[in-house]
């Protein structure tokens, strides 16, 4: 299969791919004797899902609020600490351009906006403008993640 397209090594897609492949290799190396039991498969599923999210968040680093929120969540989960919402909100707000008082969405789509806040990592601490902007970037990253994961899965299905 000849692929004429070469990925820009600095692109999000290639950064994610490199990290994710590295993580997958590590996960495969951890294969126990009974690698096909349902429990093992589920554990591996969790590891892969976390690896996918981690790889994406690290590829974006702290440039976006949502990636900072995701990294924070992943770190506190791995250290088994209970995430403190107020502390996080403060640290997020510090770096976010705040132009409105919180809780006010203005222009009349408050219900949809709060639903969106729950779907975008760190969304609850963003004002509407930032939320919309971060959502656009988050969606781009998610579609990249799906695209790459599909290619890898198809490759291993051959």
């Amino acid at each position: 299969m000849n692929n004429p397209h070469h990925m820009n090594p600095r692109s999000l897609k290639s950064r994610f791919t490199t990290r994710f492949l590295r993580a997958l290799t590590k996960i495969r190396a951890q294969k126990p004797i009974s690698s096909s039991s349902p429990t093992e498969i589920f554990r591996r599923y969790r590891k892969i899902k976390v690896a996918a999210d981690k790889s994406m968040a690290y590829s974006v680093r702290s440039r976006k609020t949502w990636s900072r929120a995701m990294l924070w969540k992943l770190r506190s989960r791995s250290h088994r600490r209970r995430p403190v919402k107020t502390k996080f909100r403060q640290s997020v707000m510090k770096n976010t351009k705040t132009t409105t008082t919180t809780g006010e969405d203005g222009v009349g789509f408050g219900v949809e906006a709060s639903e969106l806040r729950e779907l975008v990592p760190g969304g609850e601490a963003m004002d509407l403008c930032n939320l919309l902007d971060e959502t656009a970037h988050y969606i781009k990253c998610l579609t990249t993640q799906v695209q790459v994961m599909k290619k890898i899965a198809d490759f291993y299905s051959l």
Binding site: A52, E112, C129, A136
Partner: protein, 92 residues
């Protein structure tokens, strides 16, 4: 559209205007396959946000499905350096 937001804390540079919100909403609209074909004046912001939520949920589900698929595939293949190199060259 409703009137300008009043009483907002201004940090000098940005007071959120309706235009800014409208721009951001139409930027979102272009990213969502459901809404991409339609002209922006026919789709209101509420609908865009709603479809955005649905789209994100679908993407999350796709990631979960793919993780599941990969976990089963990894169970049945052996570690192979050559395979990894081929894969990398396909993706890069």
């Amino acid at each position: 559209m409703s009137s300008r937001r009043s009483g907002s804390r201004q940090s000098g540079a940005s007071r959120i205007t309706d235009d800014q919100i409208a721009d951001l909403v139409s930027k979102l609209q272009r990213l969502i396959p459901e809404l991409r074909g339609r002209r922006s004046d026919k789709v209101n912001a509420s609908k865009v946000l709603q479809e955005t939520c649905n789209y994100i949920r679908n993407l999350h589900r796709e990631v979960e499905g793919l993780s599941d698929r990969l976990s089963q595939l990894l169970a049945s293949t052996d570690t192979d350096n050559e395979q990894a190199a081929i894969l990398r060259s396909l993706l890069m």
